[in-house]
């Protein structure tokens, strides 16, 4: 059954092909159903392959399925094939699973959009690219998927490109990602140069022959790629802006899947990181700082989605903290649970936005829990999960991360723990402002929709249709129970760790805590989470405005965006201006124009040879002939 | 020197022919009376006074037939060597030459069907796209197999 693995990416691709050519004809909602069916079918195949893989002995849980040689030249051979191992199948399973739910949700969410089929076309293409990224058996194919998800992300952020903010957010995402991609690309060249191969298994088997400086360079360059894609410091501002895209996109791409690609990459190259502890430390520290910055920024946001965006940045930071600490299982564990609860929170916020007629300001909400019970309850579960309240999933996964951070250095643990407290707090703030407290909206007030049109009717918030509710419920269940796939306390309960062991086992940093210590960590985590929740409750239960707690520098996310704008963007603009006015126009332009003019001039000259007279053409032919024969005869003579 | 010997009869024949032609002209100049009249100066046209000037250009049809002649004429080149060794080639040669003839015949059929061989002052080569009047029967008739109706 493992051989069916090729179907996993092919099905969404087929969906894309059909939608691309016939999408408009299928229309609304058939196009959406087709897309959903394709991804769901892919999920089914994934589960089948997953089970088949599970039935193998742990040592034999690695299969390479080579499809064909993609292209080659000289000793370079780039194949297209997939690597089926516990890591890739875990990724594939949650990607297809979460994607199926979000596709289903989108059928309802995008119901009134004119570009309905196009949305699903992109969505299917995205799933295909994402699956290629995680399933590829070599770096180049992964990079293909990496670029593919980037492009889809660009298309989908800028989906409503008539809105300025969406269009510029799309561009911003593209630019930030390109910076990271450049690192990835250079890393690719280095890898090939040093190992002569692109295939994961071959590359990892030849690491012994590669010097440490090269390995550090490769690791850090790949990490640069991950920083761009996964919105880490300093390349995170794009993620907040990316919220201009449709909410299902935020849920799928900018929370559950694409942004975790960087974490996946770090886990995939664990043999390299294992050999380069210094690079790993850099990763861990960047992750920790990002976790803190993201969490603090989330505390002061008023846009329901931006809170979640910064929260995602923060959570991704945790994942890198884990990967950098050598705790790849913890990273993957957090990635999975995060996918569940963050997708849940985003979809919930989407329902709220729908209900509030496109208003996203949490200061204008309140008291929705009673009107939207399903959304309210599932959002609550999401909040508890992310906050780390036991026994919800976040408690287990974040606990795992923090514990491993402690093993590296307690300083990392402190940063992580503070961020965890903040996490519980800012999500509480959001929950209270949106679902509880007084209604700060009026039913009668005329509301403007996203296009600035005045809508006549008032607000009647209610739970959405079943397409949208069902994914909420499923995700809430997963968010609540997802933590049980990897419980501490007893070696028999660490299911995920044992499952991933063949891939990351040799590189795992072995930390041995006694059961007592494990309990201690758990209790501390629980206390932190509950404290955060309680603080949020005490502050935000009754009031909706506490300027002291929402400082401007946090609202502006530590001014990173503006700082980068000033420092990098303006400097480079100035430099570019200088180049444009002085270097470009005087020197480069001069040269280029000179060459262009010369080319054009010689073209004009040469075309005159073409007189139109057949005799002249024959003369040209004879002239060539004479020169040739003369040359030959000279050679004979010599 | 031996190789030139074989050319001697040809050379002799050549000289004889030249001598005879030259001799005839010279003899006629010398012997014939020279009394020109306008009737005698006129171009010879079977004794009839020319009614009008000959047309300056030949109709296209003329060239067409000439071209068709050339191409069918040259096909015969291949029949000569074939005929020489016909016996040795046996059935293989027969098959090949039938294929050859069939190809040539199909070409002829095409020409006939498109009216390339319709000779006459009025009719023109019809454009390929306006062959409304053509039928199987008419083509067969032109080829001449249905000789009964040909008249």
């Amino acid at each position: 059954m493992i051989h069916a693995a090729f179907l996993i990416p092919i099905l969404p691709l087929a969906g894309f092909a059909v939608l691309f050519s016939l999408g408009r004809r299928l229309g609304n909602p058939l196009a959406g159903w087709l897309a959903t069916a394709m991804v769901a079918a892919s999920f089914v195949v994934t589960v089948i392959v997953f089970v088949a893989l599970f039935q193998q002995a742990p040592a034999h849980r690695e299969f390479t399925q080579s499809w064909f040689t993609w292209f080659g030249a000289g000793r370079l051979r780039v194949g297209a094939g997939i690597l089926v191992d516990p890591l890739s199948m875990t990724m594939a399973a949650f990607i297809t699973g979460v994607s199926s739910l979000i596709h289903l949700y989108s059928i309802g969410y995008m119901k009134h959009d004119e570009q309905f089929p196009k949305f699903f076309t992109y969505l299917n293409l995205f799933v295909f690219a994402m699956l290629m990224l995680v399933l590829a058996d070599n770096f180049v194919l992964s990079f293909f998927g990496w670029e593919g998800v980037g492009v889809c992300s660009y298309f989908l952020i800028a989906f409503w490109f008539e809105r300025d903010e969406a269009a510029s957010a799309g561009k911003k995402a593209m630019i930030f990602n390109r910076i990271g991609d450049a690192g990835f690309l250079v890393a690719l060249f280095l890898i090939f140069e040093r190992t002569g191969s692109f295939e994961y298994t071959t590359v990892f088997s030849r690491l012994g022959h590669v010097g440490t400086p090269s390995l550090v360079a490769i690791a850090l360059l790949l990490f640069l790629g991950a920083v761009g894609k996964s919105a880490q410091i300093p390349l995170f501002p794009w993620l907040a802006d990316a919220m201009a895209g449709p909410t299902p996109v935020s849920a799928l791409i900018h929370a559950a899947t694409m942004v975790t690609a960087g974490v996946y990459l770090m886990c995939r190259i664990n043999p390299i990181l294992h050999l380069t502890p210094d690079a790993a430390h850099v990763i861990a520290w960047v992750g920790a700082v990002t976790a803190f910055v993201g969490a603090t920024s989330a505390c002061a946001q008023n846009d329901i989605k931006k809170v979640l965006a910064y929260s995602t940045v923060s959570q991704l930071g945790y994942m890198f903290l884990a990967a950098g600490s050598g705790a790849y299982v913890a990273a993957i564990f957090l990635m999975l649970t995060h996918a569940f609860y963050k997708a849940l929170l985003f979809l919930g916020s989407g329902s709220v936005i729908h209900a509030m007629d496109e208003d996203q300001d949490i200061k204008n909400m309140g008291g929705l829990a009673r009107l939207m019970p399903i959304t309210g309850v599932t959002f609550l579960i999401g909040w508890f999960s992310i906050a780390g309240v036991p026994p919800f999933s976040g408690f287990w996964s974040k606990g795992d991360v923090l514990q491993n951070a402690w093993a590296v250095t307690p300083a990392l643990w402190v940063i992580g723990a503070v961020s965890a407290l903040l996490t519980a707090y800012y999500m509480g703030r959001e929950y209270f402002l949106v679902f509880l407290g007084e209604r700060r909206w009026t039913e009668a007030r005329p509301v403007a929709d996203g296009h600035g049109k005045e809508l006549g009717h008032g607000l009647h918030p209610h739970d959405p249709s079943w397409h949208m509710s069902l994914p909420l419920v499923v995700l809430a269940t997963l968010a609540a129970l997802g933590g049980f796939i990897d419980l501490p306390f007893h070696p028999n309960l660490v299911f995920l760790e044992r499952w991933l062991d063949p891939v990351v086992g040799p590189s795992l940093l072995q930390t041995h805590f006694s059961v007592g210590q494990e309990w201690l960590f758990s209790v501390v985590d629980a206390v932190i989470a509950v404290t955060g929740v309680l603080v949020a409750a005490s502050v935000w239960r009754a009031s909706s405005s506490r300027p002291a707690l929402e400082p401007r520098f946090l609202f502006m996310a530590w001014f990173v965006d503006r700082g980068e704008d000033r420092l990098v963007a303006r400097t480079s603009t100035a430099l570019a201006n200088f180049t444009a006015t002085v270097v470009e126009s005087r020197i480069v332009d001069g040269a280029v124009n000179g060459v262009a003019d010369l080319t054009r001039w010689s073209g004009e000259r040469l075309r005159r040879i073409q007189s139109g007279y057949v005799r002249n053409y024959a003369l040209g032919l004879v002239a060539g002939l004479v020169v040739l024969v003369a040359y030959v005869l000279v050679r004979v003579g010599s | 020197m031996g190789s030139l010997d074989s050319y001697l009869p040809i050379f002799v024949l050549f000289v004889l022919a030249l001598a005879f032609a030259g001799l005839s002209i010279v003899a006629s100049k010398l012997l014939a009376p020279q009394r020109p009249t306008s009737a005698k100066e006129a171009p010879y046209e079977c004794g009839i006074v020319p009614a009008n000037e000959p047309p300056q250009r030949f109709p296209v049809r003329f060239y067409l037939v000439a071209m068709i002649f050339v191409i069918f004429d040259i096909e015969v080149i291949f029949l000569f060597p074939w005929a020489v060794v016909y016996d040795q080639l046996g059935r293989f040669g027969l098959v090949e030459v039938i294929v050859f003839a069939a190809a040539a015949f199909f070409s002829l059929l095409y020409l006939v069907a498109n009216g390339a061989l319709d000779w006459g002052p009025v009719r023109r080569v019809r454009p390929v796209s306006s062959l409304q009047s053509r039928t199987t029967a008419s083509t067969v008739r032109r080829v001449g197999t249905g000789s009964g109706e040909a008249a």
Partner: protein, 549 residues
Amino acid sequence: MTGSTAILASMAAHLLAAGGIAMPRIDYTAILPELILLGGMLVLVLVSSLSPRPLPTEAYATATVGIGIASLVASLVLWRDVSDHGPFTAVARAVNVDGFGVLFLVLVSCILVVAPLLAAGHLRREGVGGCEYYVLALISGSGAMFMATANDLVLIFLALEILSIPLYILAGFDHLRESSGEAAMKYFVLGAFSSAIFVYGIALTYGATGSTNLAQIAAFLARNVVTSDGVLLGGLALLLVGFAFKVAAVPFHMWTPDVYQGSPTPATGFMASMAKAGGFAALLRVFVTTFPTLRGTWQPAIWVIAVLTLVLGAVVALVQSDVKRMLAYSSINHAGFVLLGLQAATARGVAGSVFYLFTYSFLVLGSFAVVSAVGGKGDERHGLERYRGLGRRQPALAVTFAVLLLAQAGAPFTTGFFAKFYVVEAAVSAHSYALAAVAMGTAAVAAFFYLRLVFLMFSDVGRTIPTHEGAATGGTPTDTLEMPSAGGVATLVAAPVAALVEVAEPDPAIVAVSPWVAAGLVLCVATTLVFGVWPQPLVDFAHQATLII
């Protein structure tokens, strides 16, 4: 007639080789693809002669596509034969059935499948339907096949003529246009001239080596060290002129722009792909496998010709304002790239050239088909300005053209990129660094004029062309995309075709695209993109072909 000469050629070549009259044995399966084309051609002639009323041009197009597919199948069977049992010679060693030759059989068959589709619409529009275009194309195709498989200089000459003479007629095919006649005259006079030079070259080579059989010539040259025989080298020079004329290499290219511009557009596309395929096939075989010992002499000559071809093609294309003429110069530039592989004279170089020809054939066929459609009735509106705003009027057509042009420019994810990559790589690995650099430079220049056309198509000015201001465009882009074809669209393949089809010309600015042309274009674009993303099968094909030599 020409067909039968080809058959007889093999017969006589046998006599020639045997010296006496031995019972000739002809392996008909070895030349089955050619026989299919010629037989099919004869059937078309017969049917058109005897049919009670003129058949629609589409009927002939369908038949030709069928014949092309049949010969494709036969070629592939031969390919399997060759891969399993190795190459062999047939028909008294006049025909070489090896991977290299069979690959070109496949290519020619493919061209004959695509070209009729692309021509049908044009022929109907211009009122020159009938069997002639297809019959001539089939004869020409068989000539190209014989050129690629010929193992005898005399057969190469015959094949060259069988390839060329129908092309002369195709150039002058549209008797209503003056430029068509002019093109035919120029092509014919210069073509016949170069053929005469070529055949004189054969005669000299024959005199110097005592044979016209390529294998025997090679064997003779291997036995005797002939580096300073004036007759032989002179013959070689004349042969090179003949080939260089056929493939439009500078300075033997001068017919190209005029002929490409004047010929009916589908004929241009056909001759560009077919003449280059046939010409280069024979050129590569003769120079690389027959005269390797004289490499020291001909490689520098090819080097110079390649540089001239690359530069002149790109530079003069830059200043053209007529799209057909621009594409003609660009085809000269492409010929220069193919020469890169020949100059390298290595297995890798030949494989690169073969790959280039394979991909280029589809690009040029498709490009000229688009030009034909845009040219409109009369086939005369080929100015650059005509393309302004095409992306808005007919997005599907514009995107198709853009893909084909970008591929010609060598953009990644198209076959054009890998084609250029492999020949340049071959040149580099043969240490022809300067030549590779020149090639890259001209590719940059060439990219400019391709991109200019692409930008022009998608520039926003002028939803209608100036002369028809105020007239409704007959559809926004989405309307055009949605225009259904008559038969209804059910399959994946049919959808892009339907997107391209433009049934009538509701507005003068909208050009008609028949379903036939649309299908052909989809084939061209599909090959370009599929093998552009996944070139390996084609690369392997080309490499195998070359290694089997």
